[in-house]
């Protein structure tokens, strides 16, 4: 019986490939679009993931997301250090500044200032140079993406000639202050797609325009054995500032972008379209396929096959087409994601996404099969022969 079912399915090439293509395409559309959506949204809190040492992030209570700047007075650092259960606390500066490039061009840059003494918050994956080089005079780090894109410099004397990425030794100006590139780091791409410049906290203050409040965030490590949630509440109670675990801070940031931008609606529509395509093409074709094969089902029924056996056949056909389509669709999505460099396209496949597309394909297949099954059950063998 199973063999006959599969032969029925695979035998009709045109219909089979139609069904397969529909399901593959639906899976691809749903998975890929949602992966891009997730990738894009993950970028909004790239900085939080970039600094995994921190157990808690302390910021001004009115801060809306991680890239928001609501600086605090510098004594906030000492106030956080005063809280019981804080192992260490480290300052972090973050602000968008205009950099004047060696070729005279100007570029907005995200400047991150890390603690001078410990360099906590400095990039982990250093491609060129050493993190300790940040202690040299006027030293900054740039990241590979910015260096190879917005910060590109002419490779020859001809300003319109070929360009090369920014490299160690290049000198920029940040607010009329000299800044020397001493290293290149690889970091996660950020949502705002501006080059990130790393330097030390006090140098960053020197680069920034005069401001009495300079402390953007405080990174906190909890003492060993300290309950993080309890520490979080204690910091908030004693300092009046807001403390977040990396997860909470990420969600807060994510939430801000979800509510403030049209991104969720755009991607939601694309994903819904994928689902509709699946239903319209694959589901409808599968139903048609059953209708076309109705005469064979009728013959088998006349030869004594039970309804249960026939339903099993339909289920097997649906399952085979679904699994194949899903597998192919996922494969194409993954290959697509792997083949495009991370800085070109935000693509992040989290485990929930294959589950989501599996569910979507299941709904399509189960829906189409159910309709087909209904037809098979109601089938009167007489009709087949009388026609």
């Amino acid at each position: 019986m199973r063999r006959i079912a599969l032969q029925m399915l695979f035998g009709d090439s045109a219909k089979f490939y139609g069904i397969l293509l529909g399901l593959t395409f639906a899976t691809l559309l749903i998975t890929q679009q949602s992966a891009i959506f997730v990738g894009l949204m993950t970028r909004t809190y790239a900085l939080i993931e970039e600094i995994p040492q921190a157990d808690l992030w302390v910021a001004d209570p009115t801060l809306q997301f991680v890239d928001d700047t609501k600086p605090m007075p510098v004594t906030a650092l000492d106030r956080v250090r005063s809280v019981q259960g804080v192992e260490w606390a480290s300052p972090l500066f973050k602000s968008i500044l205009v950099a004047k490039l060696p070729n005279g061009g100007r570029q907005l840059c995200d400047v991150v200032g890390v603690d001078d003494a410990t360099l906590i918050g400095a990039p982990a994956t250093v491609v060129e140079g050493k993190v300790e080089d940040l202690r040299k005079p006027d030293a900054i780090f740039v990241e590979t993406r910015g260096a190879g894109k917005q910060l590109m410099q002419p490779a020859t004397d001809d300003p319109n000639g070929p360009k090369r990425p920014m490299r160690v030794g290049d000198v920029l100006e940040l607010n009329e202050r000299r800044a020397v590139v001493v290293g290149i780091a690889e970091t996660r791409p950020s949502f705002q797609n501006v080059p990130t410049i790393y330097t030390t906290y006090f140098r960053a203050i020197g680069f920034a325009p005069a401001n009495r409040r300079t402390l953007s965030m405080v990174l906190v490590k909890a003492a060993p054995g300290q309950d993080i949630g309890e520490l979080e509440r204690r910091i908030e109670r004693e300092t009046g500032l807001s403390a977040y675990t990396p997860d909470e801070f990420s969600w807060k940031t994510l939430d801000y972008w979800m509510k403030q931008t049209g991104i969720p609606i755009n991607f939601g529509m694309a994903i819904a379209l994928g689902f509709l395509v699946g239903v319209a093409i694959a589901g409808q074709m599968f139903y048609n396929f059953t209708l076309d094969n109705l005469k064979y089902f009728g013959a088998m029924k006349a030869m004594g096959a039970t309804s249960a056996q026939l339903l099993g056949m339909v289920a097997l056909q649906g399952l085979s087409a679904g699994v194949l389509g899903l597998g192919l669709g996922l494969g194409v999505t993954a290959a697509f994601g792997l083949s495009i460099p991370a800085d070109r396209l935000a693509f992040k496949l989290i485990w929930q996404l294959p589950v989501l597309s599996t569910m979507a394909v299941t709904i399509i297949v189960v829906g189409a099969s159910s309709l087909s099954m209904l037809k098979v059950i109601r089938l009167d063998p007489k009709e087949v022969f009388s026609g």
Binding site: V83, A210, R212, E238, G325
Partner: protein, 376 residues
Amino acid sequence: MGIKVRYVLLPVLALTGVGLTLYTVKLQARPAPAAAPSGEPTRSPFGNRVAGSGLVEPVSEIINVGTPMSGVVQSVNVQEGVEVKKGQTLFTIDQRMLRSQFQSAKARLEVVRRKLDQLKSLPRAEDLAKAEAVVEQRRAALKDAQSRLDRLNQIADPTAISPNERPTREYELANAKARMAEAEADLVEVRKGSYPEDLAVAAADVQVAEAEVKSLQTDLDRSDVTSPIDGTILRVTARPGQYAAATLSAGEGLVTLGQLSPLHIRVDVDELDAWRFDPKGKAVAVLRGGKRVEHPIEYVRTVPVVIPKKTLTGDNAERIDTRVLQLIYRFTENEPGVLPGQVLDVYVETGGGGAAAGAVSGTGGAQGSSAGSVGG
């Protein structure tokens, strides 16, 4: 062929696709690598504590020595790092003009002194002898006039003499008397010497000249700028030939010095945390970065006024929103590697816990020690 594709290749492809997906999921779920800190973050050895940033300073605080008078620096007599005694010359402002003024003032003093001596030396013996001789001469002339009148009076016959003779002799006598009186008065004047008023004027002139010499001497002394304390030279910005103005603003000095033993540490504590501070609490200062060194420190005093936190932004319209309580601590011994001007993190143990436990001071110690073991 076609069947083979459908029965074998497609399932294999689909399986590969699922595998690829799982691989991608696993690959992208990798956590970010954390950069190893290049220096140890400072940690508090206490559970309940107040933290602040401390600036190391000499026990005398930093003394910026300026100059009391403007002028060109003539010589600098100290180098950075050397120890000086109180009163030792640090640098000298050009003295040539002062010296010449001093010389001429001294000469003027000599002149007025001589004048006074001259007045005091009167009367001179020669003048006296001369005046006495004049008196003797006049006395002789008086006697002569008297005797000539007496001789005329002895002639009894009135016709023997002309009627003019007698009055002439009488006038001669009166004249001689008056000349005698004049000579005697001259003698008295010479014998008396100088007038006391003249002497007083001359003595006052001497005082004025003396005062001028003294004032120039003081200026000369002041142009040698000396150390106000026993201490160590921290910075020298004075250079020979450089113009030094007497109107230096605070924070600038031609020579900066201070007494380095023991070193003090000025701790800024946010005003919002100030109420939790306990002078009796144990305190440590922790060196930032690199090798973490804890220095035990002792409470000295609290600056009794809450002041704006010093953050130099260069904006002259800035408003202050951060105020700090300043606490002064002392290093119990001089620590190697700690220098004035350095910033350290300071932790002071407090009795109670946070806002809630702060009020209960009785049980504070026990809470502190139990929390300390958690923190350590």
